[in-house]
Amino acid sequence: MTDARVAADGPMLEVQQLTTALGGRGPEILSSVDLTLRSGEVLGVVGESGSGKSMLALSIMGLLPHPITVRSGRVLLQGQDLLALGSQQMRALRGKDIAMIFQEPMTSLNPVMRVGQQIGEVLRWHLGLQGEAARTEGITLLRRVEMPDPQRQIDAYPHELSGGMRQRVMIAMALAGRPRLLIADEPTTALDVTIQAQILELVRKLQRDSGMSVLLITHDLGVIAEMCDRVAVMYGGRVVEFGSALDVFDRPAHPYTRGLLASRPRIAAGADWLSTIEGTVPAVGQMGAGCSFAPRCALAHAACTSVPPLHTVEPGHQTACFAPFAAVASV
C-alpha cells in the first residue's frame, strides 16, 4: 500500500550547497553540503562527532538552535525550498510532511503527558482529529508500530515504558501525519542490540509499506549496512563521499571512509590490532583552509590546500578528494 502522495519520479529531498555557521561571522558548521534523497529510498548519513550530521537534520527541519544560522544554500522538498518558508508554513509541514525521530525518546517525549495524548496532539494539529476518533487512530498507530497491548499502553506515561516501547511511540507520532519524508537521527543508538534489531526491522517494514523516503543519520556503520540504499559520509561539516551502500562499502574512495571502515572491530576479524586514523577531529572553527581531512590523511599532498569538490569516481559514486582510491580493491 503505497501512499499516493509520494511522487514516482523526482527526488524527494535535495540539499544544495547548504552552509550553516555560528552567527553572522562565526566559523562554518556545515560547508556547501550537497545531498539528494530519491523518492522511496533510505539514504544514510554517517559521520562521527563533529561531522555536522545532526546539524544537517536540524537545518532541514528548520530547527537550528540560535545562534546557528543558514548562511547560504537551498533545501528542496519535492522542489519546494524549505529555507524560504516562513515559520508558520514550516510548522504546517513539520510533523506532517516531514517527520523526525530522535535518539533519546525519554527526552523527546513529554514526561507528564500520556502517550495517547502526545500522539493525539499530532492528529489534532495536522489531521483535525478529535476525541474518540483521535484515540482510535492512536491505537491503530500503536498497533502499526507493533506496540504490545496498544489499548492499554495508549494511556501509559513515557516513564512506564521501556526504551524500545518509547521509540515505538516516537515512530507512531512520526507516522501520524503520513509523512513523505522521515528523518531518523540515531534512532537506535540508545537501545540494546536485541531491541535495536526489532526497531530496525520495524522501520524497514514501515518504509516498504508506505513508500516514504527516509534520511537515516547515524555513526553506526552496521546500521547503515542494514538499512540504507545509499549513503553520504560526512567529515568536518562536509560530504566527503556519496554513493550506493554497496559501492561505498566495497570500494570506499575517500581516505576517511576507508579509514573508518577499517577501524571497526568485527566479529569475523577475531582479535586483531585495530587499524586507526591518526589524530582527532578538529573543533568547529579550528578547521584549516583546504581539505578538512588533510591534517590526518596519510596521502595529503600540495593540492589538498584547496577544498576538493565532489566528483565522480564511478557511476553513481562521488567523493571529495583530489587523489581518491581507485575503484578497485575492497577493504
Binding site: E48, D192, A225, A245, G259, S263, W273, S275
Partner: protein
C-alpha cells in the same frame, strides 16, 4: 589451574532494597546480581557482555567493593577480601582499579589533569613531590598524551583524550587488575580503535588483567580472551572468545549474535529473534529467567533453575536443554 585466579567471585549477590511508600507493603528487592561465580586468571581479559539491566556494571563494582555485596565472596589471589576493613581494603585497591564509561563525568572538571593523575599517588602516600611528578610524566607517555596536558582542564580535551586521562589515573598505582566499565562505549568508532589498541598495548607491556564490560559485542570479541554473557543478574554462558562467537550455545547468546547488524550491505541479516522486552526484574521467580523469551522453552524451564555446566573444554552454559543434549547447536 594450580595458582588461584587473580580475582574470583563465588556466589556473589547484590540486592538493592526498593524505597517503600508509607504504609505500603515493601516491594521485593531488585536482584541486580543474583548469584554469580567468576574466575579471572592473571594476564587475561575477561569480557562481560549483556544488555541493560543484566548486572554487568554492578558486577564490576562488586569485585572492587565499590559497592558492597549482599552475599557471596570475592577473592584476590585466593584471599577472601569480602569483609576486609577500610584500611586493608584501601591498600588492596592499589592493585585493583577502574576506568569508567563517561569521559565527561568521571574527571573532576575543576581539577587540572596533572592533579587528577597525581591524586591517587597522594592518597596512598606514594613518593615525594619530585618522584610523583616524574611518575605522572611517565603515565602521560604511556597513554600518548603530551605534557602540555598537565596544566589543562578536562573540558579542553576530546572524549578519547579524556579516556586516556582516566586510564593514566587508573595506572598511577601500578595495579594488576583493571575493570574497564564500558570504557570505550561513548567514543566514536575511529577513536574507539585507538583506545582499544592502547589498552592492548598496556596489557602486554604492564602485564595487566582486565575485566572488560561492554554491550558492544564486536569490541568484546576483539579484546577478550574469554567472554561471559549475563542476563538478568546471572551468567548464562562463559567460553573462550573465539568459541563463544563461532558456536554460541545458550539461546540468549544466539539471539544476541543474531541481532547484530551486518558488516556489509550484501550480508543483511538482522533477524530479531527475540520479541518483546527484557522482563521486569520483579517477575524473576523460580525457573530459568530467560524462559519468557526463549525460542526453545519447555514446561520444565519454568520450574527448574539452570546452573552453569561445562559442555566442552572451558565452555560453560546455564540451560537445561543444552545440559541434557536436547538442544543440538
Amino acid at each position: 589451574m594450580n595458582r588461584p585466579p587473580l580475582i574470583e567471585a563465588r556466589g556473589l549477590h547484590k540486592h538493592f532494597a526498593r524505597p517503600r511508600r508509607f504504609l505500603a507493603k515493601a516491594a521485593p528487592a531488585l536482584r541486580a546480581v543474583d548469584g554469580i561465580d567468576l574466575q579471572i586468571a592473571s594476564g587475561e581479559t575477561l569480557g562481560l557482555v549483556g544488555e541493560s539491566g543484566c548486572g554487568k556494571s554492578t558486577t564490576g563494582r562488586l569485585l572492587l567493593r565499590l559497592i558492597e555485596p549482599s552475599g557471596g565472596n570475592i577473592l584476590h589471589h585466593g584471599e577472601d577480601i569480602t569483609h576486609l576493613g577500610a584500611d586493608a581494603m584501601r591498600s588492596k585497591r592499589r592493585a585493583m582499579q577502574i576506568v569508567f564509561q563517561d569521559p565527561y563525568g568521571s574527571l573532576n572538571p575543576r581539577m587540572r589533569v596533572g592533579d587528577i593523575i597525581t591524586e591517587p599517588l597522594i592518597i596512598h602516600g606514594v613518593g615525594d613531590r619530585d618522584s610523583r611528578a616524574a611518575r605522572v610524566q611517565q603515565l602521560l607517555d604511556l597513554v600518548s598524551l603530551s605534557s602540555s596536558a598537565l596544566q589543562r582542564y578536562p573540558h579542553e580535551f576530546s572524549g578519547g583524550q579524556r579516556q586516556r586521562i582516566g586510564i593514566a589515573r587508573a595506572l598511577a598505582l601500578e595495579p594488576e587488575f583493571i575493570v574497564a566499565d564500558e570504557a570505550v562505549s561513548a567514543l566514536d568508532v575511529s577513536v574507539q580503535a585507538q583506545v582499544i589498541n592502547l589498552l592492548r598495548t598496556l596489557q602486554r607491556d604492564l602485564k595487566l588483567t582486565y575485566l572488560f564490560i561492554s554491550h558492544n559485542l564486536a569490541v568484546v570479541r576483539n579484546i577478550s580472551d574469554r567472554v561471559a554473557v549475563m542476563y538478568l543478574g546471572r551468567i548464562v554462558e562463559v567460553a573462550p572468545a573465539a568459541t563463544l562467537f563461532a558456536r554460541p550455545q545458550h539461546p540468549y547468546t544466539q539471539s544476541l549474535l543474531a541481532a547484530l547488524p551486518a558488516d556489509h550491505p550484501a550480508q543483511r541479516r538482522v533477524h530479531a529473534v527475540l520479541r518483546g522486552d527484557m522482563p521486569n526484574p520483579d517477575t524473576i521467580g523460580i525457573g530459568c529467567r530467560f524462559a519468557s523469551r526463549c525460542p526453545y522453552v519447555q514446561p520444565r524451564c519454568q520450574s527448574e533453575d539452570p546452573v552453569l555446566k561445562t559442555t566442552e573444554d572451558a565452555h560453560q552454559v546455564a540451560c537445561l536443554r543444552v545440559a541434557d543434549g536436547s538442544l543440538t547447536p
